[in-house]
């Protein structure tokens, strides 16, 4: 199993290299290599899934590479299998879409792009398979590097370069934190294999240090507030399939790492850890949702929504840690499965949405919401797939987004008394924030879909927008199908998640029932998307027939009424800023806003609003300024005068002499 998985990874790299020589001609890469890559992804998913369902024992393997005392260890267990499953399922869709998407043009040559893309894919797989710190770090940074190249594929645009720089910087600093965390974890055994780390016994202080460092590192990659700043820059900069990969899959590797370290290596030990993660997750969720609501660029909007979803996932993780440390294993399992399933769901619908933005970009070459609109008539396919994604990410039944949020709320609800008063008070508040976030997400996605696809085109150029080609449609359809299936039959996702929690926590939620999920017990809570869907479809159908029987089908096409208002243009629709207005109004404290409103007498009124992340001013700019100050200070040492230099070495000598005296 493991060998074949490795072989598949090798295949990916091989495809990438094969495509390299084709300089400007993209046919081979697009029409052959990407589809093949998608096929490999599919097989990948099948293998991982079968491993997961069959519940086999973990498989290990050692490659004769790496450092002399530390060859590359690989290991396939339930946790990694689950994330490999996610990787395979989603990347299959993305690769197919990319086959239709990437064309020769400005920016990186297709061959090189293909190489970077597949290396990115492979490195993510290795990150998940790695079983020693060194291989993990190598794969981790390779992942960052390849994605960096993908992000900066259109490096002639300064903003994109800036985004790439910020991204790689954050990634690198985060990586160093993870590395230090491993340094603590090996616990003086000088064995960097995860196996040794599992066995290492750490004092509470060191364990907490390792945990916090890991949280910093993985949080930076996952985009937890306040380490999220790179995310809304990098995602829009990248080509859409890459954004889909980063948001849908790369962030999940960070989730994986967090789970691996906290549950598998550190065997969660203190409830305070859980509360910390919980607080961070909730804050990020709310923060992301609020900022997504005020964005005017569709990809930035989706990026912030990624921050929100990551926040939700970490909320689940934190909750699960709290429960686990309070010996409520069943609820821990519930919360963890919620987090896992939400990872899968987010991977599905977020990549779906990013891909649709890609199609929209190709069709209209506009990213700003203020220039789009009415595309549902020009590109019905993309619009309908996007609708699925929108409803799913908005957490509406009967689609998959609702399932994970439902599970998470369940785990929030049925918390019997937690022995720690504060945690106990914290839980319901958390539930409240989560509910608010979910509702906000609905608002955000409504804005996204409504402005891009509904209403009147805001630009004349949109008239000749064309629908996606068949390969792109195939990719979109694949992901949309995933959203629907998991929504209707949550067991598909719950079973694998349960087998993960079985291995990780020794408990798992009840997945006995076929047609509904009742994680704890049917008396307490149960949900069946299937029945719900059937119910809606049934009632709608009956209603439709009845209406047609009782009444008539007569209908006239008329110009819109709009309260009889006559001179209406497409410019009178709400803009993205308009939709953001209530949020800006309610959560004003979150933003740093600069507005200039036109005066009534203004003949050519200009309305401009500039919204900035407070985090910049609060954290990052001060850091930059201090660095600059210190650098100036240090610069004084190199004053250019030889006698001063001699003085330095003289004093060094004297000081050291005094030291040894």
């Amino acid at each position: 199993m493991l060998q074949s998985l490795l072989l598949l990874v090798g295949l990916w790299v091989f495809f990438g290299i094969v495509g390299l020589p084709t300089r400007r001609d993209s046919r081979l890469v697009a029409r052959v290599l990407f589809p093949l890559g998608a096929l490999v992804s599919l097989i990948f998913a099948v293998l991982a899934g079968s491993f997961l369902i069959s519940g086999q024992a973990p498989q290990g393997m050692i490659l004769p590479l790496g450092l002399p005392d530390l060859p590359f260890h690989l290991r396939l267990d339930a946790l990694s299998a689950f994330f490999l499953l996610v990787l395979g399922l989603v990347s299959a869709g993305i690769s197919i879409f990319s086959a239709g998407y990437f064309r020769a043009g400005k920016g990186t040559a297709p061959g090189l792009m293909g190489l970077q893309y597949h290396v990115f894919l492979a490195s993510m797989a290795i990150v998940i398979l790695a079983d020693d710190a060194y291989l993990f770090m190598v794969a981790w940074e390779t992942m960052a590097l390849s994605s960096y190249f993908l992000v900066t594929s259109e490096h002639r645009i300064p903003e994109i370069r800036r985004a790439g720089f910020l991204y790689l910087l954050m990634a690198h600093v985060g990586a160093i934190c993870i590395l230090l965390s491993f340094g603590v974890l090996q616990g003086g055994s000088w064995q960097f294999t995860f196996g040794a780390m599992r066995g290492a016994s750490l004092t509470p202080f060191w364990a907490t240090t390792a945990f916090v460092l890991a949280l910093l590192g993985f949080g930076a990659k996952a985009g937890l507030v306040p380490l999220h700043v790179w995310l809304p820059e990098a995602h829009p900069a990248a080509p859409s399939p890459v954004s889909a990969m980063m948001s849908g899959l790369m962030l999940k590797t960070a989730v994986y790492g967090m789970l691996r370290v906290s549950f598998d290596l550190l065997h969660v030990r203190f409830w305070q850890w859980g509360v910390l993660v919980l607080a961070l997750g909730l804050f990020s969720a709310l923060y992301g949702a609020i900022f997504a609501a005020v964005q005017a660029d569709m990809k930035r909007l989706l990026a912030f929504s990624s921050i929100e979803n990551i926040g939700i996932i970490f909320t689940g993780i934190g909750l699960s840690i709290v429960f686990e440390t309070c010996n409520m294993h069943l609820f821990a399992a519930l919360a963890l499965s919620a987090a896992l399933i939400h990872s899968l769901n987010h991977a599905l619908f977020k990549s779906l949405l990013f891909l649709t933005t890609g199609s929209v970009l190709h069709a209209t070459s506009h990213r700003s919401l203020g220039k789009l609109g009415g595309l549902i008539r020009r590109m019905p396919w993309v619009a309908s797939f996007a609708l699925v994604g929108t409803l799913a990410i908005a957490g509406l039944p009967p689609l998959n987004g609702f399932v994970s949020e439902w599970l998470l709320l369940q785990s929030f609800l049925f918390t019997p008394e937690i022995p720690h008063a504060f945690a106990n008070m914290f839980i319901p508040l958390g539930a409240a924030v989560l509910a608010l976030t979910a509702a906000l997400a609905a608002y955000v996605m409504m804005k996204f879909y409504g402005i891009v696809f509904l209403g009147q085109p805001r630009e004349d150029s949109l008239a000749e927008a064309h629908d996606a080609n068949w390969l792109e449609r195939l990719g979109l359809a694949w992901l949309a199908l995933g959203c629907i299936l998991i929504g209707v039959a949550p067991q598909i996702a719950l079973r694998p998640a349960a087998s993960v929690t079985d291995k990780l926590l020794g408990h798992s939620v009840n997945t006995s029932s076929i047609w509904r999920i009742a994680p704890i017990s049917p008396q307490q809570a149960s949900y069946s998307g299937m029945v719900l869907l059937a119910g809606i479809v049934g009632v709608v159908g009956i209603a439709f027939l009845l209406v047609r029987l009782i009444a008539h089908g007569r209908m006239r096409r008329v110009p819109p009424w709009d309260c009889g208002y006559q001179w209406q243009t497409s410019r009178m629709q709400d803009t993205a800023e308009g939709f953001g207005q209530p949020i800006r109004h309610i959560f004003a404290t979150f933003f740093h806003m600069e507005r200039d409103l036109p005066s009534p007498s203004d003949t050519s009124p200009q309305y401009r609003i500039y919204i900035e992340d407070r985090v910049w001013r609060a954290i990052y700019l001060p850091i930059a300024r201090t660095t600059q100050k210190v650098a100036d200070l240090v610069g004084g040492l190199q004053g250019g005068r030889l006698s001063i230099y001699l003085l330095y070495s003289f004093f060094t000598l004297i000081v050291l002499l005094v030291f040894v005296l």
Binding site: L396, M425, A442, A543, Q581
Partner: protein
């Protein structure tokens, strides 16, 4: 046994569909009395629906399929919701398919579809209505969830029927948090159903309307379905309220004799009459808020609900 429950389920749904417009009419009547106007007939709402069904639909030229299917979807979701809520009896097959959280999900779905449809035509007022609808929604929804959480925590279940059963099992218990929850719930109900002080269903004053702005482009049968759906929504909310705070008379598990059913129907009607009157009273006594004040109103509801939750955790009665 099983078929009986199915029959009961079906009967409940039919009843809900049937009397929802009546409830709306009743409220209108009460309001008229209180504002000593001459009241419309009780069956005025039915008439209006019939008239609308007869009319030819005038569909905006730019409308997409989404716009046309939305009324049916809205109606469908509301009917489904009615099927989930234990208005008459508690052992309902559908209740196992979707608990209270799913119920809120359903309402959210309905809202999102309505707003999307409102944006579809691309008129100024349509989009405005959609935006405001969602704004009210994203504040009201969590508030409602929090209200439900109180009961959930108390009875350890998210299925409304089991909540009712729980109440019936311990009729004496009154949780101190209930009072917060009740107030919050009423506020949410007002907001969600486009009632004063948030919105006024009676007017089409462009700048203040919320719900009506969303329906602006609809006509004839589509409008009828939407009106009916909003009537159902109000009815559903009322029933949720009953299930949470005054569950008396609802036929619980086991008690599925005809008499119990009759009692429950009678109880439901009585409650509706009172509730309608009370609602009308509230609406007549309060003035409509500026749109900017609406968030504060709902935030208040949300905070009340959360407060109730904390109160429950502090000095709530613990049940086995």
């Amino acid at each position: 046994m099983r078929d009986i429950t199915v029959v009961r389920q079906f009967g409940e749904v039919v009843l809900a569909i049937a009397i929802a417009p009546l409830f709306v009419g009743w409220i209108a009547q009460c309001r008229a009395w209180m504002q000593n106007r001459s009241a419309p007939l009780l069956r005025q709402t039915y008439r209006m629906l019939r008239k609308l069904f007869d009319k030819d639909a005038a569909m905006a030229a730019t409308a997409s399929p989404l716009f046309r299917t939305t009324p049916y979807i809205l109606f469908g979701t509301m009917v489904l919701a009615a099927a989930i809520i234990p208005s008459l009896a508690t052992d309902l097959p559908f209740a196992h398919a979707a608990d209270a959280i799913a119920l809120i999900g359903l309402f959210a779905t309905a809202r999102v579809f309505l707003s999307l449809a409102a944006m579809d035509i691309g008129t100024a007022f349509g989009t405005m209505g959609a935006r405001r609808e969602m704004m009210v929604g994203f504040l009201a929804e969590p508030a409602l969830l929090m209200v439900l959480f109180n009961a959930f925590l108390l009875y350890g279940s998210t299925a409304l029927p089991s909540l009712v059963d729980g109440y019936r099992a311990h009729p004496t218990v009154i949780d101190p948090s209930a009072i917060f929850a009740a107030v919050a719930f009423v506020m949410v109900l007002l907001a969600e159903n486009a009632r004063i002080p948030i919105d006024n269903p009676a007017t089409h004053l462009e700048l203040t309307m919320i719900h009506e702005a969303a329906l602006l482009e609809y006509s004839a049968r589509h409008l009828a379905l939407l009106e009916w759906a909003s009537g159902l929504k109000l009815f559903n909310y009322a029933c949720i309220g009953f299930a949470l705070f005054l569950p008396w008379g609802i036929a619980t598990n086991g008690a599925d004799s005809g008499t119990a059913l009759l009692i429950s129907i009678a109880a439901l009607l009585a409650k509706l009459v009172v509730a309608g009157a009370a609602l009308a009273l509230v609406e007549s006594l309060s003035a409509k808020l500026r749109i900017f004040r609406a968030p504060e109103f709902l935030a208040m509801a949300f905070l009340l609900a959360v407060l109730g939750l904390l109160v429950h955790l502090l000095l709530g009665t613990k049940l086995a």
